[in-house]
Symmetry: D3
Subunit: 107 residues, 6 copies
């Protein structure tokens, strides 16, 4: 499973207790992050954007941490993603994600 961001507590319990769900998620994950044209890093930034647009604090944190640890993305890169969130989703999701970003890259 290329993408490690889902290896949280939740997925660990799924793996043990519901292996059929786990296998399906792993396969889906593999298909998703094996794009034909876009590289994996760009897809990760897209995942950050979607999590931020949905105002999902937990998912934003997971995705930013994963993007930083796997690709060493910079604050400016994530902020370029969040700029689009500001325009398309408004101030509250933008500010929420900016706070998470500052927290993760402990300003």
């Amino acid at each position: 499973m290329k993408e490690k961001v889902f290896y949280g507590k939740g997925m660990k319990s799924i793996k043990e207790e519901y292996p059929d769900i786990y296998d399906a998620v792993v396969d889906l994950n593999e298909a998703v992050y094996s794009g034909k044209v876009l590289d994996y890093k760009t897809q990760k930034l897209i995942a950050v954007a979607i999590a931020a647009s949905n105002s999902d604090r937990r998912a934003v944190k997971k995705q930013i941490m994963s993007a930083v640890s796997e690709f060493n993305v910079s604050k400016d890169e994530v902020m370029d993603v969040l700029r689009v969130v500001l325009l398309t989703s408004g101030m509250p999701p933008f500010i929420k994600a900016v706070n998470v970003l500052n927290e993760v890259l402990n300003e």
Copy 2:
């Protein structure tokens, strides 16, 4: 205004009747699509992803059409974006966006 996607009927009426809103949107748009690191095309693909994740048919169509006309993005590129939508937002928004994509790139 770099980004032409918002020049629909709505923005035209805003420009004439509410120039203060129009000017603020143009400035915001400029700030958003002048990222420090990511190029404009990547930001456009992120806008496609957010529109698709929100299941907003009209916005998906606008953003895909804009991405095609400005950057000649391919079907594979958009599909790589939509793969992430499938994983993070589920089947219904994914299929809705796939249908729009097929429609725009008149399969």
Copy 3:
């Protein structure tokens, strides 16, 4: 039932076939639109705002039409509501609602 906006086809069929649901909705509606302090017109504008923020074209149209027919609200009033939608919910829901507004007040 003070608020007539829900008397569409849907509510008519509910009234006939599911009177228990109908009665509960009528009572809820009555309690909602009998605010202690805010007048009914302000509450209607709030309903427009929520529908617009949720990018729900149908609900936006219903609410604007209802606000126009019951209170003769002006385009400027609705636009002042939509300004807040722009800031808090982003461009796509804003433009969608502006298009509906222009349509209803057939510019």
Copy 4:
């Protein structure tokens, strides 16, 4: 693929052009609708509820049509699902789904 609801135009094009995505979705679908305890029909009704709560007209229609054709669910059954949508998601998604229900079971 037990669940036929996704065999729309979108999935057909995916199958031909992006078989890796198609296979992953089929496997996921299989894992999802092979619950340990709940029967498939109950899971279908849950899918109706989620589509209705998300105010997704197209998905509501697909899911209701699928539930009717596969399990011959009655109007009362779907309405019992939509009652929960009314309480948890408010009037606009409820009415939108009621309209679809009336349309599908062409009253």
Copy 5:
């Protein structure tokens, strides 16, 4: 009021200070959970599904706790509900709900 899940702090204060709202909610609740065909337990599982699909941690917890205390629902039953959430709403809401489930049924 059949459904006790809403008897949190919020509803208690509403009862005392805004009895008109309280009464309307109690009546609505009664109408909602008095389905014609589906049993109350199935409707509760539907409420779990909607809360999970909306990524609402607090509501998921309330609904799962209520379903456990009123019907002694098992982990497998809730997971069968969450399987549908995974397919229709994506990984982040699914994992969030799985974490809550593990927490409530303190694995």
Copy 6:
């Protein structure tokens, strides 16, 4: 910048590190809260409604605190806003906002 609600930690860091975004947000904010007809207080109540409808605890708190400190809005006024949220968005967002309201106006 008329509206002080966004002067949280997030906006402070934006001002220092991304002045172009900051300036665009300040201008947008100015255009939004300079309505032609509605007064600023009504627009603030609309912002409370949208935050509550979106089930965004953090934004609800910010907006209620801001409305209280700037306009000394009463609990009854906010509750009249939340009544509309109950009807249009359902119980969970309503109760979440009621809890925040009770917390802010520390009952």
